[in-house]
Symmetry: C2
Subunit: 289 residues, 2 copies
C-alpha cells in the first residue's frame, strides 16, 4: 500500500493508471475510519476487480466546516486508518495536508468553487449554509487528482450523495458514482466518526434517530390509505425524540429520494432524513419509509 | 475529420484516446471561426504533435450571455467553420446542441456551476455580471467531455484566460492551459467573430482600441520616470476614444497581468484592457504596456 501526500504526486500516479486503461475505484473520506467506510472500500474493490486500483482519500476538508463547527476537534487517527486500509486491501491512501489542497487559501489566493444550487438548499444545506459548496468543491478537486472510474459514497449522507451525483451529471465528470448502504451498530445507530463524541450517557439515547425512522415506517404501514400527512408525522417524531433528555431535534424531513423535494403526504418509498443533537454532538441519519 | 454532436459520444471518444495514452489538444470556440481561431488550432497541433488529436468545440454557450445580450444573433456558419477546421487539420469538431450540454435547463433541472470569485470580479465581470460563471461552467464541462492534455485559449480575452487558468489550478484539472497571442487585422483591429456586426462606417473607427493601446505605450515610454498615473492615462484614452463618433467607452483598466489587480501607477509590463461600444457592437482588446 502506497501513501501519497502531495496533489501533484497523486495526479501523476492517476495519470499513469489512466494511460494504461486501468480501472480506479475511489472512496473519499475524512478519516477516523469505521466499518461503514470499510464496506465502501470493499464495494470499490468489487467494482474495479483485482486488476483495478482502490484509492481512499483521508482529508478533513476545511471548506465544508463553518467557523463554529467541529473542524479543529474532528477525530483523527492516521495510524489506525492506515492499518484498516491495509487490511482492507486498499492500494493507495491519499492524505494531503491543507496547503496541498488549498494553496494560498490563507492569503485569499484560492478563489474557485463548485456550487450546486437546488438539491443543496434544504436540510443540511439550510442548517449548514456553506457546507455543500465545500463538499462539491473538494470532491471536484479529488476527482481531478485521483481520476477514478468509479467513486463510492455512503448513503448515510443521503443529501450529500444526491448533490455530488447531480454535480457529476451536470458537469459531465467522466466517472460513475455508486451510493452504498449505511452501516449500523447492532442497536441501529448509523456508524459515524462523530459517534466517538458521545458520552456513556448519551450513547444509548443516540438510537433515537433509528427508533424515529422505525416509528415513521410503522405509521405509514398502519395508515388506512397508506399515507400520513408529513406535518403530523414530523410532530410525532419530534415528540418521540424529545423523550430523550440529551436529544434536541435539528430537522426532520420527508422527501422524494431522487429530487429531494419535500412531500406533503408520506407514503411508502418516501425518504426520511433527520438531524439530531445528542448532547453537543450533531448526528444525521436517513432511510426509506 | 469527425463531427460529434452528443456529449456521451464525445466523452466515449475521449476516454478511448485516454486509455491509449494519446495527447489531446483542445480549442474551445463559439464558432464563426477566423484566422485567430485557426492560429490556436495550429498551436494545439504543435503541442500534441502529429500522433496527437486536435479537437475544436463549436458551441455558443447560453449561460455566458445575459438576457439582453447577443446570444440569438451571435453569428453562426457551421459549414464554413467545418471547412476551415478540415483545412487546418482538425481531427474532431465537437458541436453539441443546447439540450446535450444543459439537459433539463429549461425546466430548472440543471443546477451546478463553477464560480471563480476573485479574478472574475472586475472589468468584463463587472460589465457582465453572470458572464464568467457561464464561462467557467461550460469550460469545466467541455474539459470533462474532451479530456484534453492541453487546452489553448486566445489572449484577446485576457481576463477569461486568467479566470480559466485559475480554475484549472484551483480545481486541479489534469491538463495544461496555453494562452496564445491575439491575431489582428492589418490595421490593428483584434480579430473577433463580433467584427462582423460592424457597418462600413464603423469598421475604420473600431481601430480606436488599437490606437488607444499604442497611445498608452507611448505615454509610458515618454514618461520621465517610466510611470504615469493610471487615472490620468485613463482620462487621456477616454478622450481619444471619444474622438470617434460611433465609439463609446465601456471601461479601460490598467492591471497586473497575473493577478489582474488594478495598478495606480502604469509602468512597462502592466496590462491594459478596454471595452468599447462601436455603434451597437461591444469590442474588447488588451495588451502589455
Amino acid at each position: 500500500m502506497k501513501i501519497v501526500t502531495t496533489a501533484a504526486g497523486m495526479q501523476r500516479l492517476a495519470r499513469g493508471w489512466q494511460g494504461q486503461g486501468m480501472k480506479v475505484g475511489f472512496v473519499p473520506t475524512m478519516g477516523y475510519l469505521h466499518a461503514g467506510h470499510i464496506s465502501l472500500v470493499e464495494r470499490a474493490r468489487r467494482l474495479v476487480g483485482r486488476a483495478g486500483v482502490v484509492v481512499v482519500s483521508i482529508y478533513v476538508n476545511p471548506t465544508q466546516f463553518a467557523p463554529h463547527e467541529d473542524l479543529a476537534k474532528y477525530p483523527r487517527d492516521f495510524k489506525r486508518d492506515s492499518a484498516l486500509c491495509r487490511a482492507a486491501g486498499v492500494d493507495v491512501i491519499f492524505a494531503p495536508p491543507d496547503p496541498e489542497m488549498y494553496p494560498g487559501r490563507a492569503t485569499g489566493d484560492y478563489s474557485t468553487y463548485v456550487v450546486e444550487e437546488t438539491l443543496a438548499q434544504g436540510m443540511e444545506g439550510a442548517a449548514r449554509p456553506t457546507h455543500f459548496r465545500g463538499v462539491t468543491t473538494v470532491v471536484a478537486k479529488l476527482f481531478h487528482l485521483v481520476l477514478p472510474t468509479v467513486a463510492v459514497f455512503g448513503a448515510k449522507d443521503w443529501q450529500q450523495a444526491a448533490v455530488v451525483q447531480r454535480m457529476v451529471r451536470d458537469l459531465n465528470f467522466p466517472l460513475r458514482l455508486v451510493v452504498a448502504p449505511t452501516h449500523r451498530e447492532a442497536d441501529g445507530l448509523a456508524m459515524s466518526s462523530r459517534n466517538k463524541y458521545l458520552s456513556a450517557e448519551e450513547r444509548p439515547q443516540a438510537t433515537i434517530l433509528w427508533r424515529a425512522m422505525q416509528r415513521a415506517k410503522a405509521a405509514v404501514r398502519e395508515a388506512e390509505n397508506g399515507a400520513v400527512a408529513a406535518a403530523a408525522l414530523k410532530q410525532e417524531l419530534a415528540a418521540l425524540i424529545a423523550t430523550q433528555p440529551a436529544a434536541r431535534l435539528d430537522y426532520v424531513e420527508f422527501f422524494d429520494p431522487a429530487t429531494l423535494r419535500p412531500v406533503a403526504e408520506v407514503r411508502r418509498g418516501a425518504q426520511l432524513a433527520l438531524a439530531v443533537f445528542v448532547g453537543r454532538t450533531r448526528l444525521i441519519d436517513n432511510g426509506r419509509v
